[in-house]
């Protein structure tokens, strides 16, 4: 699950040095880019800092304020792009979109509030820009692109190192289940998945044209699992007649 943008303050050397990485779990530093500002959401850019790109996440640490730093995992970076159009943003930058928890639950709250208020709610931040300071100084496109292109390339390479976590069993092909016994076994072995059966005689499908009279009651298996947590849209289902009306 995406966790979005978060504060990052773990610095080595009594809190003044490089970010402390999760090296035990294979996190490695891939690229360091000094003199980069970040603009979080619609806010004005922070004073410059250093960008650390690891094989897991992007970390930015402020130079002035040792307590200030942000991190976002590649799993939460929906897209990144090279933005050079002054109409789009005054400074050339790496533009990123961040997937937040809010995206997955509800989409109602608008960012503007959180971004304007004093207290910055990082969990609602959906955009971030990385602005290399040499980008502003350099007029000539021929010199400047290297930093931006390098950053873009590093972002791409690291993003590709972070595919969606594979759900258990996904790569074994599909564990189709052909009998209820098998399902009970599955349920027994299941970890966080709750299985509910409900024989639902009202749920008849394929009964209408009379070509045959195959049994058409449908047994339902419901998975109570956050992966399928879309309760708010499922409520809509009761209104549409195309498919099943489920009973719990």
């Amino acid at each position: 699950m995406a966790v979005g943008l978060r504060h990052f303050t773990a610095r080595a050397g009594n809190g003044v040095g490089e970010p402390i990485l999760d090296t035990d779990n294979g996190e490695e530093l891939v690229h360091v880019q000094p003199s980069v500002s970040v603009a979080v959401g619609n806010r004005v850019p922070e004073s410059p800092g250093t960008l650390y790109i690891t094989n897991r996440q992007v970390i930015w640490l402020s130079e002035l304020d040792r307590e200030k730093g942000y991190a976002v995992g590649f799993l939460s970076l929906s897209l990144h792009a090279v933005s050079r159009d002054p109409e789009a943003y005054p400074s050339p930058c790496i533009y990123t979109q961040i997937e937040t928890e809010a995206d997955e639950v509800e989409d109602e709250s608008e960012d503007s509030d959180s971004e304007c208020s004093e207290v910055l709610d990082l969990s609602k931040i959906r955009e971030m820009r990385f602005i290399p300071s040499d980008a502003n100084q350099c007029v000539y496109d021929s010199v400047f692109p290297s930093t931006m292109d390098t950053l873009f390339q590093v972002f791409c390479e690291c993003a590709e190192l972070n595919p969606e976590p594979i759900e258990e069993g996904e790569e074994e092909g599909h564990n189709w289940i052909f009998s209820a016994d098998q399902l009970e076994d599955e349920a027994g072995a299941g970890d966080d998945v709750e299985w509910h059966f409900s024989q639902n005689p009202t749920n008849t499908i394929g009964h209408s044209n009379g070509h045959h009279d195959l049994a058409s009651s449908v047994l339902e298996l419901q998975i109570n699992d956050q992966r399928f947590d879309d309760a708010e849209e499922m409520e809509q289902d009761t209104d549409t007649g195309h498919h099943h009306q489920s009973q719990q």
């Binding site: 929906s78 792009a81 789009a88 959906r126 873009f152 791409c156």
Partner: protein, 95 residues
């Protein structure tokens, strides 16, 4: 991700596509590359709904994480229906 769509998108490199994201952003651009997770790189991109995302107006290069993609609008002449049917049947048997 399966080979079928990976190889299909590889053949589309260089063509114009519109990638629609789950956050409703739609980005049109030239397909630069695709990987096995269907991460998509576009070039010369532009945002379709510019009113909604004015600041995305134009970016030269854009990397889109495969998992945030909802749809990709394909160029009509970039779809060989017979080929797709065959590949799908082959994959269905193999899989």
């Amino acid at each position: 991700m399966t080979y079928l769509f990976f190889s299909y998108f590889k053949d589309l490199v260089g063509r114009e596509v519109t990638v629609e994201l789950k956050n409703d952003l739609a980005i049109r651009g030239t397909l630069h590359s695709v990987d096995q997770y269907l991460n998509i790189k576009l070039e010369n991109t532009r945002v379709v709904d510019q009113d909604k995302y004015p600041h995305m107006l134009s970016v030269r290069n854009c990397f889109i994480r495969g998992s945030v993609v909802r749809y990709v609008q394909l160029p009509p002449d970039g779809v060989d229906i017979e080929l797709l049917h065959d590949a799908t049947r082959r994959e269905a048997r193999g899989g």
